[in-house]
Each structure stands twice: as structure tokens, then as C-alpha cells.
């Protein structure tokens, strides 16, 4: 069996696009999270809603910032 070259799971050229896209989505969800925090009162706030919004936003921001690092040449 001949050795098989290993590349990256996602083509390098897609990193900038992916990072912009995911960071944009992540920041929009983050904005909605903070709007909710600011407009609801302490009594009417729902913890589940806060946590789910935060979790979804952090997934997008996490992958977005990873691709941003890779696109800018910091190979983690």
C-alpha cells in the first residue's frame, strides 16, 4: 500500500469566506442575546432561552474565530 497524503479537512482557500460568514451569524445572534438581556426584567427573563441563545452564538463565534485564525496564518 502506498502512503496516502493527508491534507486539511476543509480546503485552505475556503477559510476566509467561512470565517466572515460564521462570525457574521455569530455576531447577529450575540446582538439578539444582549437585546434580550437589556429589554427583559429580572422577573420575566427565561434562563433556558438565554442559555440556548448563548450556546448557539458561541458555536458560531467559536468556529468563526478558528477559521479567522487559520485564514490569517496562525495555524493552531
Amino acid at each position: 500500500m502506498a502512503p496516502k497524503p493527508i491534507g486539511s479537512p476543509i480546503p485552505d482557500s475556503l477559510y476566509p469566506t467561512l470565517s466572515v460568514l460564521m462570525l457574521a451569524i455569530g455576531l447577529v445572534i450575540t446582538a439578539s442575546f444582549f437585546i434580550y438581556e437589556a429589554t427583559s426584567t429580572r422577573k420575566s427573563r427565561s434562563l433556558v432561552k438565554e442559555l440556548t441563545t448563548g450556546a448557539v452564538a458561541s458555536v458560531f463565534l467559536g468556529f468563526g474565530s478558528l477559521f479567522l485564525l487559520l485564514a490569517s496564518g496562525v495555524y493552531v
Binding site: 500500500m1 502512503p3 496516502k4 497524503p5 493527508i6 491534507g7 486539511s8 479537512p9 485552505d12 442575546f33 444582549f34 438581556e37 426584567t41 429580572r42 422577573k43 420575566s44 427573563r45 434562563l47 438565554e50 442559555l51 441563545t53 448563548g54 450556546a55 452564538a57 458561541s58 458555536v59 463565534l61 467559536g62 468556529f63 474565530s65 478558528l66 485564525l69 487559520l70 496564518g73 496562525v74 495555524y75 493552531v76
Partner: protein, 608 residues
């Protein structure tokens, strides 16, 4: 000279050893065109004894052997021009008992023992560093650099040599002096000794050649190469050089003006640039030192290679030092492979800089976090150890394989392999770190918003704030209930429309029943809220509006019920459409006005 001692040692040799082999022909070529001395010896070996011989011994004087950086023996088959390489043979250091003490002996083991009368051809390449001795040892800026090279005109061997010759290739420059023996010829930049015939074992005839050499004597006192693998698509190589010009020491003062005006006369011994051959598709190349980027570099390349020319900050004269770092990224696909579930890195060992001698080379291979079962395969002996490095987004650190080798020459630029096992799932560690970081931020925000951070829990302003928040929450709840009531109203209207279309009175009645009970429940829920708002001092301003809203809603509800009953009644009596229209016309107008007012009030309350 020191040869005397050496000859004395040879003289006291009692008996020749291992004399079963003879060398019918030995041709040596010594290449002195760079600072690295390369001696290529073509040996013809023949066994004259009756015993089988499975090894050929090569001897070097200790003085030379200390500088030996690299040696390889190649076996040749066939004769004359048609000879072809049949693979290289292992060369090992051995310590036979009956050898003179000042000799270092290497043994070439043959793949198949030589019988009586059999022979073979062998090419031995030996590479030496620091073998050229500058003489004079100190020169000024304007002087040329002269070096001494010492060797024996006769091939030093434990075997008898029948015919031999030696050719020394010098750089195209002045030859200051050389030892003249019989049969010595100078031809351009080549000196030829021999042929000499029928010499006994351990023949030695020292020659000294004194010549000009202005080649770069670039020696890296220490070179640290760091090769970092990222499975996200990159192999990052960073090389820290600690460079010195190891030729004749510079003395006197350095004049930049003289150097700039006539660099080849007033600085012949200096070198100002180095060329590094990087692998193809190298990207993000940089060249810097402790104070920042060094701008004097250029890079060009094609699909086969990339060449980088770097100039240190100042021309390098004898004894001058400089330290710098170069770095470049390489595509992962070219260097990382998978075989039988194991991954391996296949990359060259030495420095990419041309004709560089490295005194101490450290190659550090930084594997990704989570690599297991690491093993290394290097084509020559190296010292090996492991350490851990912490880099971007690491938890337990990355395993690092450190390979250490002294006296490295360009011949060591062979590929070596680092094998390891790695699960692709471990790649998700880095994004998970980032995600958990962001999530922690959000959780901190949530905790801050939920926490009560006021210091005096009994102050009037704090209490009023608490009350006001409670009022706000209650008003919000009232708002929610009223909007649910309005939804019920819409449901009733919808059921009336269904009735006019299908004429199903029972379904309409059922809807009415369920809506009635739900509305009753909602009004029950509303009661304690209203009571609270009434009693609260903070709600005094807003309470009239809420009250008005509730009253209007009740009014609307009654009207709607009345309209509903009328319509259902009419359908039961089977009255005509026009009759029904007439009966509910008054309700209709009132309902739409009330609905408008309620919507306005709701909006007002929502803004609090």
C-alpha cells in the same frame, strides 16, 4: 610539524595487519572548492588470501577523523564506464586491537564475503568540516584569505596498494605553495600526485597545500529547526541561526567606505549573502532577527523549488557573528502521509542554506496535541529526546521530538520520518476550546444580569427599585393575559366565519364553550395582579391605564359574546343573511372601536 609524531607512530608498527586484501587501484579526488572538504576514494579491492573476507577497513588519522562529518560507501558492479551503483553499504566505527593508537578505523561490511581471487569496486565519500586551517590566522580587511590543507599523498590503508593517484581540486585562485613530491603536476587549479606503485600498508607521505579561498566560511554554531505540524493544513518551519564566519579572523578596523567602494578588493574574505533552497510551494516566508524584519532578502521560485537569498545586516568578516531567524509555511499534503493507520511526516533533516556547516543542529518536530505512539526513523545516528510545548489553544501541551546532531554538512539533507498515531476527532479540541471560551462569556453575562449586586439591601431607593421591577413584571403579565384574551376573541370571530360558510352550529357552540371557560380562567388569573397593582404605591401612575384597559377588554368581551349569541340564535331560527346583518350591525361598529382603543392602550403599557 605534528606529522613527525605521526610518522614515528607508524614507524614503531611491528607487523602489518589484515594483509589478505590488496588494493590493485586507488583513485582519490579531494574537493577543496568550498569550506567543506570532500574526499572521494575509488577503491578496487581484491582478496589474495584463502580466507573469506566480509569487511573492508578504512583508516583515518585521528586528527582528520575528529572532523569527519559524513561518510558513505557505494558498491559498484561492472567494469569501466558501464559500472553501476549497487547500493550504499553501512560504514561503522570499529576498534580493532592491533591497530596503531593514533588511527581511527571504520569498517565497511560487504553484502557478500569475498573468496580467494575475487574483487569488487567501492566508492567512499568522506566529508570533513573545519579541515581547512586559515594561515595567517588574522588578516585585515584588504587581505585575501589563505588556508592550509594537510593530507597524505599516499593512501593511508591497512592494505598494500598497487597503484594509486591523488587529485586535489582547488578554487580558481592563487596557489601560494604546495609540497612537491615526485610525480607532482599542477594543471590549472588542480594538483595531481602520482601515480605511485606498489606501496606497503600504512604508507604515509604528508603534503601541505597553501592556497587562497574566499568562499563563504559560514558556520552555524547552533541551529534550531522547529517543524510544527497543524492538521488544519500547514507545516510551519522556523529556523534560528547563530552564524559565524569561521575563516581567518579579521584584525584592524573595518571601513565601510572602502568596503562599499571596492567590495571585491577591500573585503574579499567577507561574504554578504547566503542562498537557501526552500521546498516548492513554500509560503509566508520571513527573515528577521531580534530587532525586527531584515529587508535585504529576495525570493523567487518555480514549481520545483523556491530560492531565498538573504543578506545579513552587515558583511560577514572573519570571526564576526550574527543571529537571525527564517520561517516558512509548507502545504501539509506534501509532507504528511498516512500508511496502515499511522501518520508520518517526511521532511528533510538539514538546513536549506547552501554549503553551510552546522556545529550543533537541533531538529524539533512539534506534533499536534493528542499524538500517540511516536517513533522516529533517521538515516544516520542522532541523539533523541522528547519534550512538551505549549502553543495556541493547548490544554496538555504538544509532544515534541528533539533530534540532536553535531557536525552537520549539506550531505545530511536527507529525508527523515516521524511516525505517530492521531485521531481526527482530536482536531475538534481547538474549536471546542474557543466555543467554551465564548460560552463562558455568555454565562458570565447571564450571571451578572441575574445577580443582585447592591450593597445596602434596606435603602429606600433600592426597595423602591425592587417594587418598581415587581410592578413592571406584573404589568407585563397583565399585558400577556390581555393579549391571550384578544387571541380568544379572534378565535370566536373565526368560528363565526366558519359558521357562515359551513352552517355547522354544533362546532360553533363547542368553540364558544371552550373559549368561555378559558376566558373565565384568564380573568381569575388577572384578579391577584390587579389587586397587587391597586395596593402598590409605585403603580399609582400606571394603574388607571391598566384599569381602563381591563374595563375596555371586558366591554369588548361582552359585546362579542352578545354578537356571537345573536348570530347563533339567528342560524338556529334559520333567518336570512340580511336579517342577521341588521341585527349585529350595531355590535359590529362598537367592537371595532373598542378593539382599536385596546390596541392603543396595549402599546402604551408595553412601552413602560
Amino acid at each position: 610539524m605534528r606529522f613527525d609524531l605521526f610518522l614515528f607512530t607508524l614507524a614503531i608498527l611491528s607487523s602489518p595487519v589484515l594483509s589478505d586484501l590488496v588494493l590493485p587501484k586507488v583513485e582519490r579526488r579531494i574537493d577543496l572548492t568550498s569550506q567543506v572538504v570532500r574526499i572521494t576514494t575509488s577503491l578496487k579491492v581484491e582478496n589474495t588470501g584463502s580466507d573469506l573476507v566480509s569487511e573492508v577497513l578504512l583508516t583515518f588519522p585521528d586528527r582528520q577523523a575528529n572532523n569527519l562529518a559524513y561518510s558513505t560507501a557505494t558498491l559498484y558492479e561492472g567494469k569501466g564506464k558501464a559500472k553501476a551503483s549497487a547500493g550504499s553499504l553501512p560504514v561503522e566505527l570499529v576498534h580493532p586491537k592491533d591497530m596503531p593508537p593514533s588511527l581511527t578505523v571504520y569498517s565497511v561490511s560487504l553484502p557478500k564475503a569475498l573468496g580467494k581471487g575475487e574483487g569488487l569496486m567501492l566508492d567512499v565519500l568522506a566529508v570533513f568540516t573545519h579541515a581547512l586551517q586559515p594561515f595567517p590566522e588574522k588578516i585585515t580587511q584588504a587581505d585575501i584569505q589563505l588556508v592550509l590543507f594537510q593530507e597524505s599523498a599516499h593512501y593511508l590503508s591497512p592494505y598494500a596498494v598497487k597503484a594509486q593517484s591523488l587529485t586535489v581540486k582547488l578554487p580558481d585562485a592563487r596557489i601560494e605553495s604546495y609540497t612537491r613530491l615526485e610525480n607532482t603536476k599542477v594543471h590549472g587549479s588542480e594538483i595531481k600526485y602520482g601515480p605511485y606503485e606498489n606501496l606497503p600498508p600504512f604508507s604515509y607521505s604528508p603534503v601541505v597545500i597553501h592556497f587562497e579561498s574566499n568562499q563563504p566560511f559560514a558556520v552555524a554554531k547552533e541551529l534550531v529547526r522547529e517543524i510544527e505540524i497543524s492538521h488544519w493544513g500547514n507545516v510551519q518551519v522556523t529556523e534560528h541561526y547563530n552564524l559565524v564566519h569561521d575563516g581567518a579572523q579579521s584584525k584592524g578596523e573595518f571601513s565601510r567606505l572602502d568596503y562599499q567602494a571596492r567590495p571585491y578588493v577591500r573585503g574579499a574574505s567577507a561574504f554578504r549573502r547566503l542562498v537557501a533552497k526552500l521546498p516548492p510551494r513554500a509560503h509566508s516566508v520571513y527573515y528577521r532577527d531580534e530587532i525586527g524584519n531584515i529587508s535585504t532578502s529576495s525570493l523567487w521560485g518555480d514549481s520545483k523549488k523556491m530560492e531565498m537569498e538573504i543578506e545579513p545586516r552587515y558583511p560577514m568578516f572573519g570571526g564576526w557573528k550574527t543571529a537571525f531567524t527564517i520561517g516558512y509555511g509548507l502545504p501539509l499534503r506534501d509532507f504528511l502521509f498516512e500508511l496502515n493507520g499511522e501518520r508520518f511526516l517526511n521532511i528533510s533533516f538539514g538546513s536549506p542554506v547552501n554549503e553551510l556547516v552546522i556545529d550543533a543542529l537541533f531538529v524539533k518536530v512539534v506534533l499536534p496535541e493528542g499524538s500517540r505512539e511516536i517513533s522516529v526513523s533517521v538515516p544516520f545516528p542522532v541523539k533523541q529526546r522528547q519534550e512538551t510545548k505549549f502553543s495556541h489553544l493547548d490544554v496538555v501541551g504538544r509532544p515534541v521530538v528533539v533530534l540532536e546532531k553535531n557536525n552537520v554538512v549539506p550531505e545530511h539533507n536527507e529525508h527523515f520520518q516521524v511516525y505517530y498515531k492521531f485521531s481526527s476527532l482530536s482536531m475538534l479540541m481547538e474549536p471546542l476550546m474557543l466555543i467554551s471560551g465564548f460560552f463562558f462569556l455568555f454565562v458570565a453575562c447571564i450571571a451578572y444580569m441575574h445577580a443582585d449586586l447592591s450593597i445596602s439591601k434596606s435603602s429606600a431607593s433600592y426597595l423602591s427599585k425592587l417594587q418598581w421591577e415587581e410592578v413592571q413584571a406584573t404589568v407585563q403579565q397583565v399585558h400577556n393575559i390581555i393579549s391571550r384574551c384578544l387571541a380568544m376573541h379572534d378565535k370566536l370571530e373565526a368560528s363565526l366565519r366558519d359558521l357562515s360558510r359551513t352552517g355547522d352550529i354544533q362546532a360553533c357552540k363547542a368553540t364558544r364553550k371552550s373559549v368561555d371557560s378559558l376566558l373565565k380562567e384568564l380573568s381569575k388569573e388577572l384578579k391577584p395582579l390587579i389587586a397587587f397593582l391597586q395596593s402598590s404605591f409605585q403603580a399609582a401612575q400606571i394603574f388607571p391605564k391598566v384599569e381602563e384597559l381591563i374595563a375596555k377588554e371586558r366591554d369588548l368581551q361582552e359585546r362579542l359574546m352578545a354578537k356571537h349569541s345573536t348570530v347563533v340564535d339567528c342560524y338556529e331560527k334559520k333567518l336570512g343573511g340580511r336579517e342577521i346583518e341588521n341585527r349585529i350591525a350595531s355590535h359590529h361598529q362598537k367592537i371595532s372601536i373598542l378593539r382599536q382603543e385596546i390596541d392603543d392602550l396595549m402599546e402604551f403599557i408595553d412601552e413602560i
